[in-house]
Structures are given as structure tokens and as C-alpha cells.
């Protein structure tokens, strides 16, 4: 297996850090707000951190696009991201209207970025089919 280039190494490091903070902050917020009854500004601050960690995924993928010096691999990441965005937003729009008319159960909004991440997998598959490689954003 080829060794990772610097942009991929930074991507993996940033993603690992973001996910570690996400898990820790989620447990902390759950414990302090649900079990210990923390409220007010402190509760808002605690609840914001997991969401911002998920948001950081977009920044991390954006940095990978900016820092990737191989133009072909960069194009593959852009394709992957556009496919993921299309799938996640389509899911959100369609589900939102189905939910509006009480035809489906409620889905919490934080699941749509998660579907965006699954969409990256679909984008990788599309790259494999059309360009012969999955790319390096996984």
C-alpha cells in the first residue's frame, strides 16, 4: 500500500481529532445537561460543541481540497463532495416535506450531515465507476 502524502496525513489527523472531541463533548453534554441539570448559557455552550465538531468535517474536507496538490485526486474529492451534497440535500428536502404532511416519522436535523458522510462513500463509488479509482477521501 502506498504511503500517505502530507495532505492525506493532515486530513486523517484532523478528522481523528474532530471525532475524538465530538464523542467526548457528546457524552459530556449528555451527562451534564440530562443527568446534572445544567441549564442556561452553559447548556447552550455544551450542546453547541458536538454540532460544531460535525460542522468541522466540512472544513476538513475543504482543507483537503485546498491542500491536495495532485489535480486529478483533487477533482475526485470535489466530485465526491458534490455527490454527497446532492444526496444529503435531496434527502433533507424530500424527507422534510413528507414529515411536514405527517407521512413519515420525525428525523433530527443532525442526521443530514451524517448522510452527507455516507454520500461521500457513494461519491467514491461513482469515481471508481467513472474514473477507475475511489480517490483518497474516505
Amino acid at each position: 500500500m502506498a504511503t500517505m502524502k502530507a495532505p492525506q496525513r493532515r486530513y486523517v489527523r484532523r478528522m481523528a481529532l474532530a471525532m475524538a472531541i465530538y464523542v467526548a463533548s457528546l457524552f459530556l453534554a449528555d451527562h451534564l445537561i440530562e443527568d446534572r441539570g445544567v441549564s442556561g448559557l452553559a447548556a447552550y455552550a455544551l450542546a453547541l460543541v458536538p454540532g460544531l465538531c460535525v460542522a468541522s468535517i466540512f472544513w476538513i474536507v475543504g482543507r483537503l481540497i485546498v491542500e491536495q496538490d495532485d489535480e486529478f485526486l483533487r477533482m475526485l474529492i470535489v466530485r465526491q463532495s458534490l455527490i454527497a451534497t446532492g444526496l444529503a440535500f435531496t434527502g433533507a428536502a424530500v424527507w422534510g416535506f413528507l414529515e411536514q404532511f405527517d407521512l413519515v416519522a420525525h428525523v433530527d436535523a443532525y442526521w443530514w450531515p451524517v448522510w452527507w458522510c455516507f454520500g461521500l462513500g457513494a461519491g467514491g463509488l461513482a469515481n471508481r465507476i467513472t474514473h477507475g479509482t475511489w480517490g483518497n477521501c474516505w
Binding site: 495532485d70 489535480e71 486529478f72 485526486l73 477507475g132 479509482t133
Partner: protein
């Protein structure tokens, strides 16, 4: 766009990885260009042409 990259590489007995290393790109890039799945940017096309000591038009052909 068609190109003669595979033939030029084979004449020099370079692997795709050898060519990728010389061009400072990934092996996937070389494979995608050779198979016509990706057309390189003008700067990369110039680097390829310079490496083989040829003009861009001698390597990349109109469809």
C-alpha cells in the same frame, strides 16, 4: 482526448509509478490520463511534454 502516453512510457520501460514519480503526481493520475478518463490541465500537459522532450501536440491528439 486521445494520447500516446502509454506507448511513450512503454518505450522507456517505465512503470506507471515510475512516470508518476517523475511527474510528481499519483499513479492513479497517470492511469486516468493513459486510459483517457482524465484530461490533464495545461501546466501538467506541459510537464508531460517536457519530460518526454516533445510538444503537447505530439503526445495529445484531437478526438
Amino acid at each position: 482526448m486521445k494520447n500516446r502516453l502509454r506507448v511513450l512510457r512503454a518505450e522507456r520501460e517505465w512503470s506507471q509509478q515510475d512516470l508518476a514519480d517523475r511527474l510528481e503526481v499519483s499513479r492513479q493520475s497517470v492511469n486516468a490520463i493513459e486510459t483517457g478518463k482524465y484530461d490533464p490541465s495545461l501546466p501538467l500537459a506541459f510537464r508531460i511534454a517536457d519530460l518526454f522532450g516533445m510538444t503537447i501536440e505530439e503526445i495529445f491528439l484531437r478526438d
